[in-house]
Symmetry: C2
Subunit: 464 residues, 2 copies
């Protein structure tokens, strides 16, 4: 048990008293993320207002052996920001400043607590955007996005968060401030330490500021929703889209079961009359609207698509997107889903899904499989729903066993057990399905080199 | 002195005898790179044919404390592939296989010895390319490109090599084979070890295979060569180009002094009549040729450009490119250049160049400054020419002193002492101008964690 009074005393000359809280509501709020399955139990929440204050806090924690959990928008889905063992939570919520947009260099320097959507709004008047975009952008913060290398719905066009970070300011476990890469596009001077902090979920240091790389806002986009016969047809459609007369901005997929639960929850109409088992949502930036229409017409002539619709304006595009983006919420509202966020090489997707179907049919015939995801990136959200007559505890025990079977398949096909959600607490028991013993040994040795006392977000990703 | 017979015996069961050479020509060829300033003195050259053979070689070298220098196309400009102290050179020259192009996933798996241009030719029939492109592409190899995070003339559009690597196979100092990330676009499972090996110049392991990410071949490009009045006008033109009706593929710059030496060496005509002090080469993929012509016409109306020419076909485009790409060779052919490859934040370029001019004018008034580079990336090649009447040794001593003054300026403006060439041997004495003591301590600790005996390309980037 951490002594809260002693911890307050330790931090007294690092932060003013009103930047610390042990209010029970704050402990509950800032001690968890969206996973909701872990009971939060931090000792204290710190709200530093600058990189210097973060450094002062971490130097004192290092000296006294206090574990620290960095905390952003807490929208993570793997427990990476959970504090359940008397840690100090270091929230970036009071570090939200955004500097001026540089319209020539295409950069903006922001503090780590800046909210993703606020960055978008800050850049939009310049015709620019930070193309990191996903459903939780109204709450997620830049620092958390970078610490988790966030993905989302535009990865096929723009890549992961990693590609959109020029400079980082990081505070290490012992309180050193690293100013990494500044605002440089090119800097080949040995190991790029930015990359070591991106995606390591705050286990090696705390990101406090970032120089973000921006890109032009795209021209108005067109959304197509297409119904096809099976997964093979989804992949054939993707192959056709690779050669289409447009820039592909998104290529998403969901099954009829996902749509049925969305319709039940949101009372929306089907997008078109023909019932299909597999749906594809494509967002494209057409070079020429007529060429796009001709390309789409050929899909029907060639039997690649069974039915479909194309947005004529922004509100129709948004309505089609809501069918895809409402799925996760609809599954939770209509039942108890068990979620996995996996990735496969595209070439292995069909064989993997066939084996997954067979596995579930053989062992768990009464589980409903709701499959959707960013299939253009090889990224599937594999959701299985608890059968109504199965007790929750029994279902959870069985999903644990099923995960081992699913991840064995993932490994067989060269996939990832966590495409974009990260490892955190939720997946760490399964990490060896995606990373070899030699890789894990190197990961641990780098953790020990940077955080010898194991105080930075301890117990996340792996135990030492 | 390494005992060559003992080294051959050590490797006898790792490689057939015809995969080893101590022929003096081979020692001289494979012991150096394009820097040419270091005397090569390796003990032996190994030409393994597979990742397994590389692992067998490295395991034996680890056991016996033999230092290893990985060797690709040897086109580096920083001495990163130089072996001058009895090392084993491990050449990837016999590992050039290229797998089938996957036109849906947009990937190709190749061995590290595949030559950059061969990869381009392998992918082109599919309408695809690996967009890593620079003057030495006919000799440079994929593994070396990745180990040095190569840049080039298309970075402004495509980014550095780092962005175009999906998977890596790496052999560690102790001979472990790491298969990192496979063919996955998304894989958030803790520290991305690919990033640790990219750009570290073979000091942490040997890259033996890679899964490359491909992109569509661009549509035919248009090249504009424009003359402007000064550096400020170059930057104003860049700002205009950011908003132009096209995709910007390259934005390069050179001065009249560079052009004069190119004309002297290659006997080419001036690109247009008006003599200008500053020249910009832009390559663009126009959305609409008429809009591009109108945009270019406005540059002259607004006085942004003084004169210029625009390519009407591929051969004219190539002729304009040759003016830019021939500079480096022309400087060496017409005198003795001392080269620096630096980067600045774009916002600092003007102030930096003004101070650089003042510095050189005050201390070295008879040195000719030939400035060119990838200015859209903030990347300047700063070349100073030896005055005819200054002895070479005296010039080299003075450039050493001048480098400290130049790098002090680079540091003041938040720049990099090596934008794309790397550190190798040539720049390691200056590394502290770009990396802080805390950064260097972490870089050393990671080196020690991965290569505790300091056998992987020892003495490159920094000494332990």
């Amino acid at each position: 048990m951490t002594d809260v009074a002693a911890l307050r005393a330790l931090l007294a000359d690092a932060l003013p008293a009103d930047c610390l809280s042990d209010d029970p509501d704050d402990l509950a709020t800032y001690g968890r993320d969206w996973t909701k399955v872990y009971a939060p139990a931090p000792a204290l929440i710190a709200f530093p207002r600058s990189t210097a204050e973060v450094a002062a806090v971490l130097a004192r924690c290092d000296a006294s052996g206090i574990a620290v959990v960095p905390s952003g928008g807490r929208t993570g889905l793997a427990g990476g920001a959970v504090a359940r063992d008397g840690e100090l939570v270091l929230s970036l919520a009071r570090m939200r400043a955004m500097g001026p947009v540089d319209p020539v260099a295409l950069t903006v320097h922001v503090e780590a607590g800046a909210v993703t959507e606020a960055v978008h709004q800050h850049c939009a008047p310049h015709g620019l955007t930070w193309p990191v975009d996903f459903a939780s952008k109204g709450s997620s913060q830049v620092g958390g996005n970078i610490a988790t290398n966030a993905g989302g719905v535009k990865v096929i066009r723009y890549g992961l968060t990693r590609q959109w970070v020029l400079g980082l300011v990081v505070v290490t476990a012992r309180g050193d401030i690293l100013r990494l890469n500044g605002a440089l596009e090119k800097n080949n001077t040995g190991l790029d330490l930015r990359q070591v902090f991106i995606g390591t979920e705050g286990t090696l240091g705390v990101i406090t500021e970032a120089t973000l790389k921006l890109t032009r806002l795209p021209a108005p986009q067109t959304v197509l929703l297409l119904g096809v016969s099976d997964l093979q047809a989804v992949l054939a459609l993707f192959e056709a889209a690779r050669g289409g007369p447009f820039t592909l901005s998104a290529f998403e997929f969901f099954t009829d079961r996902c749509l049925a639960r969305l319709q039940r929850h949101r009372k929306v109409r089907a997008p078109f009359d023909t019932p299909c088992t597999h749906y594809v949502l494509m967002e494209v930036e057409p070079r020429d609207p007529d060429a796009l229409a001709a390309w789409a017409a050929r899909l029907f002539e060639e039997g690649l698509a069974l039915d479909g619709t194309m947005s004529q304006d922004g509100s129709q595009a948004a309505a089609l997107w809501s069918l895809r983006e409402g799925i996760s919420e609809s599954l939770s509202a209509t039942g108890l889903p068990h979620k996995n966020d996996i990735a496969l090489p595209l070439a292995a997707l069909h064989a993997f899904c066939a084996e997954l179907d067979a596995l579930l049919a053989a062992r768990y015939p009464d589980w409903e499989l709701c499959l959707f995801g960013h299939i253009g990136d090889g990224n599937l959200h594999v959701n299985v729903m608890k059968p109504d007559d199965l007790p929750k505890e029994e279902f959870l025990a069985k999903t644990h066993e099923a995960d081992h079977a699913i991840f064995t398949l993932v490994k067989k096909y060269g996939g990832s057990i966590s495409a974009e959600h990260g490892i955190g607490l939720l997946k760490k028991d399964y990490l060896a399905y995606s990373r070899s013993p030699a890789e894990l040994a190197i990961m641990r040795s780098i953790k020990r080199a940077l955080d010898p006392k194991n105080l930075m977000n301890p117990g996340k990703i792996f135990d030492l």
